[in-house]
């Protein structure tokens, strides 16, 4: 998996965020079985305890659940996944708005810019 850690933030939180994205985008298949803590830690280059902490939190959020003997599984509950995608989207939109506001755009200008951009993309795709 494509991990990308920034400095200055707790790693376990970054893992939670990034795994949420992997799950929301389907990079990790819903309902699928997760690799072991050790393998994930190795993959991410982090301490297994840190990975464990992150996974526990993801379990608390309902994104993962563990079967006692068979390991950890990604949720396939559509409601949970929908909420996840919507939460993440909101997060992106919020960040997006904040960034553009810093450039001095009003809310209307932002909406107009977005609509315009979407049209351009559609045209390009149509070509």
């Amino acid at each position: 998996m494509d991990w990308n850690f920034k400095e200055g933030f707790p790693i376990y939180k970054q893992i939670v965020d990034q795994m949420s994205q992997f799950i929301a985008s389907g990079a990790i298949k819903p309902g699928g079985r997760l690799a072991s803590v050790r393998e994930l830690a190795l993959d991410a280059g982090v301490n297994p305890n840190t990975m464990q902490r992150a996974l526990s939190e993801l379990e608390r959020h309902g994104l993962l659940h563990s079967e006692r003997t068979s390991g950890r599984f990604i949720t396939d509950d559509e409601n949970v996944l929908k909420k996840l995608r919507s939460d993440l989207s909101m997060g992106y939109i919020e960040e997006f708005f904040i960034n553009l506001e810093k450039l001095g755009l009003t809310n209307e200008e932002i909406v107009w810019a977005v609509t315009d951009y979407a049209k351009q993309i559609a045209v390009k795709k149509g070509e």
């Binding site: 400095e7 933030f9 790693i11 939180k13 830690a41 280059g45 301490n47 305890n49 840190t50």
Partner: protein, 235 residues
């Protein structure tokens, strides 16, 4: 009680306090960074833990025992220099470790050597510097010890080798063992640390969970270290 316990640990050299009343407790299942400038006392503490030095006063115990025959059987040490006999062939070194340490896993060592393409028939002194460092690490990490002391395990090694070494440390993780990594190269290592200990002039100035510290200070451990140790003069 932690698997490593220091209580008022003091070590003097002449009039200098290499360690000054150090109190430290490290639990099993943790990977701990022992961070500090040269001469801060890191190597002194590690030597005491390995029975190579005696404290001037105070106590250090490993799994409840003072350093000696029993603790050496469960402590694995990777010093920051070449310590294996140069004339021995790699496979002879594997045999030697197997001979002396009951917790040595020969199959693990042989797998890692094969993985790295190191010829067991070659004499240690004839290996490249990078390979010598890797062989030393492999020997130490192939032991199933209760405590590991790694003194500058990734210094003087190329970046790919560094990744491999960190990989080995993570994959070797065992909740019944503690790993203490003493290093200057904090940036490369900090992601694998559970806890960090800052030591200066023989005293512990900080001992915290790595992630908690990041949350608290909003910076990488490396940056925090640079901040805290900016003024090197005696405070």
């Amino acid at each position: 009680m932690g698997v490593i316990e220091c209580r008022d640990l003091t070590r003097k050299f002449g009039r200098t306090d290499a360690l000054d009343s150090v109190n430290l407790s490290i639990e099993s299942g943790r990977i701990v960074g022992l961070l500090g400038p040269n001469g801060a006392g890191k190597t002194t503490m590690i030597k005491i833990a390995n029975g190579l030095l005696k404290p001037t006063s105070g106590i250090l115990t490993i799994a409840g025992n003072k350093p000696g025959k029993e603790t050496k059987a469960v402590t694995a040490y990777l010093p920051d220099r070449e310590f294996l006999p140069g004339y021995m062939k790699v496979k002879e070194i594997v045999n030697m470790y197997s001979d002396f340490f009951g917790d040595f896993r020969r199959d693990k060592a042989e797998d890692m050597l094969a993985e790295l393409g190191i010829d067991p028939g070659k004499r240690f002194k004839n290996l490249s510097k990078g390979n010598r460092e890797k062989v030393q690490l492999i020997m130490v990490m192939s032991r199933e010890a209760e405590v590991y002391f790694l003194d500058e395990p990734i210094a003087g090694v190329d970046p790919a080798a560094r990744d491999y070494i960190l990989h080995v440390i993570i994959s070797n993780y065992n909740e019944n063992a503690a790993v203490v990594i003493s290093t200057h190269l904090i940036e490369d290592v900090e992601n694998i640390l559970d806890e960090v200990v800052f030591i200066r002039n023989g005293r512990i100035v900080l001992h915290d969970n790595a992630d908690d510290l990041r949350a608290e200070r909003g910076k990488s451990i490396d940056k925090i270290f640079r901040e805290d140790f900016k003024w090197q003069a005696d405070l």
